[in-house]
């Protein structure tokens, strides 16, 4: 019995769909897939290495504590400060005082100059 428009009804369609039966995986495929098991990431820290690393760290920490307690640890050096810039040495007094004043950036100029650089009267 078909539908009123002449097409297959649900049962007939289902029966037609049932005609398809998928293949089962071949034995070769099953074997191949079984061999594809994930390769876990290698652990480089074995138990022995882990214990050795912990032992080294413990000995190091104990040594530092012992040295700190006995006061044999070298004191912390004071921070190095840069050497002061040497003052202009002029024992003979050959440099005019005005030049020394002009060379000092912190001292405001007392002489006045024109825009052309000539001293103003």
């Amino acid at each position: 019995m078909t539908t009123p428009n002449g097409q297959m009804n649900d049962d007939q369609l289902n029966a037609a769909l049932d005609a398809l039966r998928p293949p089962v995986p071949s034995d070769m495929l099953v074997r191949r897939v079984h061999l594809m098991a994930p390769a876990p990431q290698k652990v480089f820290m074995t138990t022995r290495r882990t214990v050795a690393a912990a032992l080294v760290m413990a000995v190091g920490a104990a040594t530092m504590l012992h040295l700190a307690a006995s006061g044999t640890v070298a004191p912390v050096a004071p921070p190095v400060t840069p050497a002061a810039i040497a003052a202009i040495s002029d024992p003979a007094g050959e440099i005019p005082v005005s030049d020394l004043v002009l060379g000092d950036g912190n001292t405001p100029r007392t002489e006045r100059f024109s825009m052309a650089g000539l001293p103003l009267e």
Binding site: N14, L17, D18, M36, P38, A39
Partner: protein, 191 residues
């Protein structure tokens, strides 16, 4: 050994497999391989290609297993998604031939080679299935052949349940139309 693992969830099997448990991986593969082969076969109609796709899918899953998130997608859904993408790649790579020639004789003869009368029926039905639009094809395979509920299939296709029902109805309608020329033979063969 695999029997002992039959009650274990997929996620747990993946976790064990990622730690190097070979039997967990074998159980996982045995649980899903046939479905993936069938899924690809329904869509391509070629047994060799279906097995290739299943193999590639499982190979990718073996890599994915190392970073598998248990609360994410279900294993079967992930496998179908990957297999579906591989099917699309195959379809694109194929030469444009008529769908009936696309279905290799071997894929059908392998099933029941002694029933000559059934061979044409199967080819006709498979031709109609392969000619469906991809989403109609997938939902028909998932619901009719793989036994998923419409709701589950909707989740796998990332559509609403209502949209999935509509899609399934369109798929069945398309199948009816495609099988219309061979209706008498099909009905006769089915009875």
């Amino acid at each position: 050994m695999a029997d002992d693992l039959s009650d274990i969830t997929d996620d747990e099997l993946v976790r064990r497999a990622a730690k190097g448990d070979q039997s967990a991986w074998a159980a996982l593969a045995d649980r899903h391989l046939a479905s993936v082969v069938a899924f690809a076969w329904y869509r391509l109609g070629d047994r060799v290609e279906a097995e290739d796709i299943a193999q590639e899918t499982l190979l990718r899953f073996a890599k994915k297993a190392l970073t598998w998130e248990p609360d994410g997608a279900k294993v079967r859904t992930w496998l179908y998604r990957v297999a579906g993408n591989l099917v699309i790649d195959r379809q694109r790579a194929r030469k444009p031939v008529s769908p009936i020639e696309d279905i290799e004789e071997t894929s059908i003869i392998d099933i029941q080679p002694h029933l000559d009368g059934k061979l044409d029926t199967r080819r006709v039905v498979h031709k109609a299935l392969i000619a469906l639009p991809a989403r109609q094809q997938v939902i028909l395979i998932l619901v009719y052949y793989q036994g998923y509920t419409v709701k589950e299939a909707a989740g796998m296709l990332a559509v609403s349940e209502h949209a999935a029902e509509s899609l399934l109805a369109r798929a069945r309608k398309s199948m009816r139309s495609a099988l219309e020329p061979d209706k008498e033979d099909l009905i006769g063969a089915g009875t």
